[in-house]
């Protein structure tokens, strides 16, 4: 005959202290081969940079948490293979993603064009509320720049994308771009609101994992 305290309801923490909410989001990195997707992730997650980063043949998975105010945003990061041959597999990874970073190399016009097609594909096929960030990577090598900052910036604005030029090598804007995404993601509890852009509370994620139920 266990009962809740008289007056019922769930007890609240004193002084309005935080419950330290944890929201988990799936984030996918897309972009042409060798633009530095894995390097960005490695810099963000482990604070490292490898001059000769191996080509990703598959999809790597790492997690990293950022704290914003009273909310911990836990990113479940899928770093995908950029080679064209694997293009058809990309939907496996951007499906259900609440955020995406589309990466290009500022020294490579083709990679910028490719980034644009990725953005188009995401806007057409991914979750409607997906937060997309455009990252012009290798910004430390601006001597050999071919994609102008203004051009990319304008493109990003027209398409409602977050935009930053980044450098995995110098760490420039790496945390910032993830932070910007984290800030833009909706973090309300999502009870009764199972929108695909919604972060999930960690407990739910655990359950989903157990039932092998991929995030929708």
């Amino acid at each position: 005959m266990a009962t809740t305290p008289r007056g019922g309801g769930t007890a609240q923490r004193p002084n309005g202290a935080s419950q330290n909410k944890i929201c988990q989001f799936k984030l996918v990195l897309l972009g042409e081969s060798a633009v530095g997707k894995s390097s960005l992730v490695l810099r963000f997650v482990k604070g490292q940079f490898h001059e000769y980063q191996e080509s990703t043949i598959g999809a790597a998975f790492l997690t990293q948490t950022l704290c914003i105010d009273d909310t911990a945003v836990k990113f479940e990061i899928w770093d995908t293979a950029g080679q064209e041959r694997y293009h058809s597999l990309a939907p496996m990874y951007y499906r259900g993603a609440q955020a995406a970073i589309v990466v290009y190399d500022i020294q490579n016009q083709d990679s910028f064009q490719r980034a644009k097609t990725w953005v188009k594909e995401l806007q057409r096929q991914a979750s409607p509320n997906i937060v997309i960030a455009l990252a012009g990577n290798k910004a430390d090598l601006s001597n050999s720049r071919v994609v102008e900052y203004e051009e990319a910036k304008q493109y990003a604005e027209e398409n409602g994308l977050l935009f930053m030029e980044t450098s995995a090598k110098t760490a420039m804007n790496v945390n910032d771009i993830f932070l910007a995404i984290a800030k833009k993601l909706p973090k309300n509890d999502g009870a009764g609101n199972q929108g695909s852009g919604q972060g999930r509370r960690l407990a739910e994620v655990e359950q989903n994992r157990q039932t092998n139920n991929c995030c929708k």
Binding site: M1, A2, T3, T4, P5, R6, A11, Q12, R13, P14, N15, A17, S18, N20, I22, V45, K46, I57, G58, A59, A60, F61, L62, T63, Q64, T65, C67, A72, K74, A81, R85, Y86, S88, L89, P91, M92, R95, L202, A203, V205, E206, R209
Partner: protein, 870 residues
């Protein structure tokens, strides 16, 4: 007292435990035990280790069930035997396992252990000897540190049962310096500790949330602070009197400062048989109303909850300002009266969580009469056993207050009341507690007030009735928990309503409380650590190669490539090939097979995976589509090798499908002007595109003509030439025929037999993506449909199709005519299935009948006319 274990040849376990330590740090005793962690149990080795200056108990987690080297032992916890050290027996009444708990001033929470009995038990010290060793040390040091309190769990001497707390900062047992050697064993980060049980898959890795909770708990000491709360406990046996008009202020508002929590206990609120038989459980609102009027005026109060069983009622009242800090509150009652059921005796309890600590208040009314000591002890045990809250029993709380009419009397014959201090020596509760028969590990403050029972109501005079009851301290307040300090313990003589005097006690209790600022920092730090843990403890698989090169692939031939996957990480790996889309549940093209397509690899193991390609007539057109106009090898498929909780690896199946007549549309075959074997896919796709517009070079495919021609010449009398079983489908000869057909066969003798030729013909007809006949008007399949119109439908087919159909049906008609064994039903059914494949569900019988109509009658005239047109 020395048990001598160490002096004798040390056992293997002693040796490996000793190896964990430096010279001068001597392992005195080693005990095998286990801990409960949630629903799991986890084995531990407890070691008592001594240096010259100090002792400590180490708890080791084991990397495997039977440690083989010292590296299998991981320090899980350290209990310095300092002033705050406690070793208490934990009697879990529900399970007859003897447990004990250890705590010390440096470990945030007490840890409970249960001695286990491994099959190599003689390697270990017995529990008794470990306890003796600890007490041996305690007794030796007790002179130096008289404040040391270690209640002995199994000794029956009187040491260590006195009251007192450890909050007193002075005279700490051993200085920090004496325990400085322990620092070496405190591990800052054991996240990467490799547990062999995890590596061999017998224990799961902690995931996300559970790891987070585990870490948060482990770092509790970094953000938990003690906050002192004033607790006011009060008990009164009202002897069935109405007390809702009595002024309770002398009893409930007697403290100087306003209490934070009141626990107010009544007994004998209602002595009526009705209340007993009905097990009255509704709190007496009029009494509660009176309580609320009589509280300390220095604060605002609200009733948290009340629980009642017959005459017993426990009301918890809290200061309004601390109400939000109470995050859980449960109540429970247990009757121990007649049959252990009736509620005239027993206990009621409230369990609550205040900040980070759990508190339990019990109000009990135990069995009466001088002689019933045993029964009272039993009632106490019964309440302990049966008063269960949702997740814990009474003993699992951080702070326990046990109040009530415990009914213990005085073992005195003389009713002369002399000195209370003398009388207290005869107090049954004191005697029973000293003998460890009841209230084990509880404390009671010193009694400095006169007995609370039995008075003539309305007076302060001892019982003058006939019974002439002996005075006794029936009404008591005890507590359990190290962070509780009693301030006062009194009775209230002024309240004369009952034959009992009310009693109250006030306490200061240190309650673990989150420091929100510190908590936020630790929370963040732990999130990062969990990220690191997850990222570092990701199962990894190594694959020998990510490209599987099949080179040239021919129709109907089997190929395979093997590759090795290995687990070189410290965790077991579960792998599987993953389906690529939600709708298509295939893990690869259906002409590829993978064996095995899932599995588990423990650390250090590897496995060979075989990928097979076999392109059959049903699937060849899909391969051709994939090959497109590419010359040479292309990625035919990409397999996704998925590691559970880890990354995916893409494995590309490379190869070049060699052109063959199998799988090509008859129109294309009619446009060829050289052997297929000499052609490239780029040419073939070009021809295929043109075949819809340009005139055909030949009227029907050479390959079909050659096969039928051969059968016409050699096979007309063959028995069972066309069978539904297709028993020649898997036959090397088919591939020889394939090569013969693809090189146009002109020069060489036909390599096959009538039976393999017949099978090759069937395969050729069924391998084209489109069926030979795909009627737009399904009526033609209707057996009543005029045959003339069926012929018109054939007439509308493309020339090569029409010609193939006519030539084939004429041949089959002839075959049936000539061959006495030929079964028209079988042949019509077989060709019906192959020639008419429609996306519509056409019943097999209809297809058979359609073909049968052509086979059963001569269509030479029609055919002659048609051939003329083309």
């Amino acid at each position: 007292m020395n048990n001598g274990t160490v002096e004798n040849t040390p056992t293997f376990i002693f040796q490996i435990v000793q190896e964990k330590f430096l010279p001068g740090e001597t392992v005195k005793a080693v005990l095998h035990a286990y801990q409960r962690i949630g629903v799991e149990t986890s084995n531990r080795i407890l070691a008592l280790v001594a240096t010259q200056d100090s002792y400590a108990v180490f708890s080791f987690a084991l990397a495997c069930d039977k440690p083989r080297t010292f590296s299998d032992l991981v320090v899980d916890n350290i209990f310095p035997i300092d002033k705050g050290f406690r070793m208490e027996s934990e009697v879990r009444n529900t399970i007859s396992v003897l447990g004990f708990s250890l705590s010390s001033s440096q470990s945030a929470r007490k840890s409970t252990f249960y001695p286990s009995h491994p099959d190599d038990a003689d390697e270990y010290t017995s529990f008794k000897l470990l306890v003796d060793d600890i007490f041996d040390y305690k007794v030796r040091t007790a002179d130096t540190y008289p404040q040391a309190i270690v209640p002995p769990p199994f000794d029956d001497d009187e040491s260590g049962t006195g009251g007192g707390t450890t909050t007193d900062e002075s005279g700490f047992f051993g200085s920090e310096k004496e325990f400085s050697w322990l620092a070496r064993y405190r591990r800052e980060d054991d996240l990467l500790a490799i547990d062999r049980c995890i590596a061999d898959g017998s224990k799961p890795l902690l995931k996300g949330e559970s790891k987070f909770q585990y870490e948060l708990k482990k770092h509790e000491h970094e953000y938990i602070i003690n906050k002192t709360y004033r607790i006011y406990c009060a008990t009164w046996n009202v002897n069935g009197q109405q007390c809702n008009a009595t002024n309770l202020r002398p009893w409930l508002a007697a403290s100087e400062d306003p209490p934070d929590i009141y626990a107010i206990a009544f007994q004998e609120l209602d002595l009526s048989p009705k209340a007993i038989t009905l097990s009255e459980s509704r709190p007496d609102r009029s009494v509660i109303h009176n309580i609320m009027k009589s509280l300390h005026e220095g604060a605002q109060y609200e009733e948290l909850c009340s629980v009642r069983l017959v005459g017993m009622m426990l009301t918890i009242v809290v200061k309004r300002s601390i109400r939000p800090n109470i995050t859980r509150c449960e109540k429970q009652s247990v009757g121990t009266g007649a049959l252990n059921l009736m509620g005239n005796k027993g206990g009621v309890g409230v369990s609550l969580t205040l900040n980070e600590d759990s508190l339990c208040f019990v109000n009990s009314h135990l069995a009466a009469h001088v002689s019933e000591v045993q029964r009272r002890n039993e009632d106490f045990n019964e309440i302990n056993r049966r008063l269960l809250f949702s997740t814990q029993d009474i003993s699992n709380h951080d702070h326990i207050f046990w109040i009530g009419d415990l009914n213990y009397r005085l073992n005195m014959t003389s009713d002369e009341i002399t000195d209370y201090r003398v009388m207290l020596k005869f107090d049954q509760l004191n005697i029973e507690r000293a003998a460890h028969r009841v209230f084990e590990n509880y404390y009671e403050g010193e009694i400095t007030f006169q007995p609370t029972y039995k008075y003539d109501p309305g007076t302060d005079n001892w019982d003058s009735s006939e019974k002439h009851r002996q005075p006794a301290w029936c009404d008591r307040i005890l507590w359990r928990g190290d962070k509780i300090k009693q301030i006062v313990y009194r009775n209230v003589m002024k309240i004369q309503l009952s034959d009992h005097k009310p009693v109250y006690a006030t306490f200061l209790a240190d309650i673990k409380t989150k420091d929100e600022q510190k908590y936020k920092r630790v929370h963040e730090k732990i999130l990062k650590r969990v990220d690191k843990y997850e990222n570092d403890n990701q199962p990894q698989i190594t694959v020998e190669k990510t490209d599987l090169d099949f080179e040239e692939i021919k129709f109907n031939e089997e190929y395979f490539r093997d590759f090795t996957v290995a687990n070189n990480c410290h965790l077991p790996v579960e792998f599987s090939f993953k389906e690529k889309t939600e709708t298509d549940m295939r893990i690869c093209e259906d002409w590829i097979s993978i064996d095995p397509c899932y599995g588990t690899l423990i650390t250090g193991r590897s496995l060979s995976i075989r990928v097979k390609i076999h392109i059959k007539s049903e699937t060849v057109w899909r391969v051709i589509k994939k090959q497109g106009n590419h010359i040479g090898k292309i990625p035919l498929d990409i397999l996704v090798l998925h590691v559970k909780n880890g990354r995916d690896i893409f494995i590309t199946v490379m190869g070049e499908y060699k052109p063959s007549c199998f799988g090509l549309p008859v129109e294309t075959l009619c446009c060829l002007d050289k052997p297929i074997v000499d052609m490239q896919w780029s040419e073939l796709t070009e021809i295929q595109m043109k075949s819809t517009t340009e005139p055909f070079k030949i009227t029907m495919p050479r390959e079909i003509f050659l096969l039928i021609d051969y059968l016409y010449r050699v096979g007309m009398q063959e028995i069972n030439l066309f069978q539904l079983e297709r028993s020649f489908k898997v036959n090397d000869n088919i591939n020889e025929i394939r090569d013969w057909l693809d090189s146009c066969g002109a020069a060489e003798e036909f390599p096959g037999t009538p039976h393999t030729a017949a099978e090759a013909l069937l395969m050729l007809l069924e391998s084209s993506g489109n069926p030979l006949i795909h009627p737009l008007d399904l009526n033609v399949l209707n057996p009543d449909y005029p045959f003339e119109l069926c012929l018109r439908a054939i007439h509308k087919l493309s020339t090569p199709r029409k010609n193939v159909f006519l030539y084939l049906t004429m041949f089959l008609h002839e075959f049936i005519e000539q061959n006495r064994n030929a079964n028209i039903e079988v042949i019509a059914k077989l060709f019906g299935m192959i020639l008419i494949r429609s996306s519509h569900d056409i019943h097999g019988l209809q297809r058979k009948n359609f073909i049968k109509r052509f086979l059963s009658r001569g269509i030479f005239n029609f055919a002659r006319n048609e051939f003329k047109y083309s």
